[in-house]
């Protein structure tokens, strides 16, 4: 029995057969995968999940691949959920947790969505995988395409961080460096769809790709002992994953995986240098998200025209969350704060998430006992260059290889 039944428009409800398409012909709304929920309700259980592999594929029943599909995997997911006592102490939070998704195979959250997307694409006969990317997605797509033995085209802005270009190129994909920003790259790819037989992970096969995001929330809840947290802080780029986290919570409740049905507040984090969703959240018309031209060091989430922006604000308001934004200095300060207090080196997008967490905590959003989780979605080595320009070496001394020099220069 097939688990996937088709695609449905999130706006007008029009239904489509399963295929590589992401847009409703009637209203241009986004299409979502439809599952046989009655069958899943009988099948899904905590026990079945706990007996699965120590990767995100333990939630395979809730992902858009059929039982006989051979998935393309590098062991993504089931990343550490760590209790952040020292960071929590600085922020007055006694139950702060960090979901460290920089521990994925290519060091970002994107491995989850790409593993699902490429598994779906290969099972459905695609020979070439492509994407428009701010870097992390291209990195994951290149790695998983290599793993699957598929052709790969990645489209990136020409001025991407050097570390990201190296960690994409090593997998030997076709790299198309576009003289434009991410939104321009994305538009080009949207137009290319019609003349290529390719699976663009985040465009025509987006309904399947997006589903991989849910596993981040499934794991968090399982790792908390099958309990829903009070609030989750999530970085916002297109808003795609934010929407899936709301869906993941709905599924955890619907399938009886949690006893509680109190939906956590979902809070979004943006950089002020690219804050179209935050701008709308603060306005009188939160569902009217107007595009901006990005200018921020948080490149991996610098999407000026976020396709799911209106849904982010709808969900934030529905769940009692907020959308907040931080300055460039606050991003760097948060990266350093997280490293200093918890031993976790995150990229600039993680600095946005932790920066927003810190800003909200210091503004008195929480009493102190709430269970708050922040999603740290990428590794610091991806954007190490932003710290090079900061005085990050205040405690460094240079000495001769002698005891005398050590005693003279180093204070113990």
């Amino acid at each position: 029995m097939a688990k996937l039944l088709g695609l449905r428009c999130r706006e007008c409800g029009a239904e489509y057969e399963l295929q590589a398409t992401h847009v409703c012909e009637m209203c241009f709304g986004p299409l979502d995968a439809i599952y046989d929920e009655a069958a899943l309700r009988k099948k899904v259980s905590r026990q079945r999940i706990e007996q699965g592999p120590p990767s995100m594929w333990r939630y395979r029943d809730l992902l858009p691949v059929e039982d006989d599909t051979q998935v393309v995997t590098l062991g993504e997911g089931f990343t550490p959920l760590v209790r952040a006592e020292r960071l929590g102490a600085e922020l007055g939070l006694r139950n702060l947790w960090l979901k460290n998704d920089s521990m994925n195979p290519t060091n970002s959250f994107k491995d989850r969505v790409v593993s699902v997307a490429i598994s779906w694409a290969r099972a459905n006969g695609f020979e070439t995988i492509a994407c428009a990317s701010t870097g992390n997605l291209a990195n994951a797509v290149a790695a998983y395409a290599a793993r699957a033995g598929l052709e790969c085209f990645v489209f990136i802005p020409v001025d991407l961080e050097p570390a990201k270009v190296v960690s994409i190129s090593v997998f030997d994909p076709n790299v198309v460096a576009v003289r434009g920003n991410y939104d321009e790259v994305n538009r080009l790819c949207s137009q290319l769809l019609e003349s290529t037989p390719w699976a663009f992970c985040n465009i025509n096969i987006r309904p399947f790709y997006a589903e991989g995001s849910k596993t981040l929330t499934f794991e968090t809840v399982e790792q908390l002992g099958w309990r829903l947290p009070d609030e989750i802080i999530i970085p916002i780029a297109s808003g795609c994953q934010f929407v899936r986290h709301r869906q993941a919570i709905r599924e955890l409740i619907d399938y009886g995986l949690v006893r509680d049905d109190r939906v956590p507040a979902l809070t979004g984090a943006q950089a002020l240098g690219c804050a179209p969703v935050y701008n709308a959240f603060k306005s009188d018309t939160p569902e009217r998200v107007l595009p901006v031209k990005p200018d921020t060091i948080a490149r991996s989430i610098a999407i000026g025209n976020p396709s799911d922006g209106m849904y982010v604000n709808r969900i934030a308001l529905e769940t009692g969350g907020v959308v907040e934004a931080v300055t460039e200095d606050e991003i760097v300060a948060a990266m350093r704060l997280l490293a200093r207090t918890e031993g976790i080196f995150t990229e600039t997008a993680g600095g946005v998430t932790i920066g927003v967490l810190a800003k909200l905590a210091r503004a008195g959003r929480w009493k102190g006992d709430e269970v708050v989780v922040a999603y740290v979605t990428g590794h610091g080595l991806k954007t190490a260059d932003v710290l090079a320009s900061v005085d990050g070496h205040a405690r460094r001394v240079e000495i001769e290889p002698t005891l005398k020099s050590f005693r003279e220069k180093v204070t113990i």
Binding site: H22, V23, S190, E194, N305
Partner: protein, 91 residues
């Protein structure tokens, strides 16, 4: 005359045409002219307030019109107007 580029999902309306030429002074008038020739485009592109729908991006010579003058953007000879579904990208 300015030229619209019609995306796949809307080509049923344009009888399969990928490009349609129109005579108009601004973007709003161009959409009216497109709708006069192929009825249905106006409803697909604009909401009940006459604003561009949330899920439609329109580019005038590669510039997102929402970043500029919107429907009042001046359109002239040889301009290209691209209609692109907004739902794309991920992060």
């Amino acid at each position: 005359m300015a030229q619209f580029r019609i995306p796949g999902p809307l080509r049923r309306l344009s009888g399969g045409e990928t490009t349609v030429k129109v005579e108009a002074g601004d973007l709003g008038a161009a959409i009216d002219a497109l709708d006069a020739r192929y009825p249905g485009f106006r409803d697909r592109l604009l909401d009940h307030n006459g604003q561009l729908r949330q899920f439609v991006n329109v580019y005038l010579n590669d510039e997102d019109v929402r970043l500029g003058a919107g429907l009042e953007a001046k359109v002239s000879e040889k301009d290209e107007i691209s209609i692109v579904p907004a739902v794309a990208g991920g992060g």
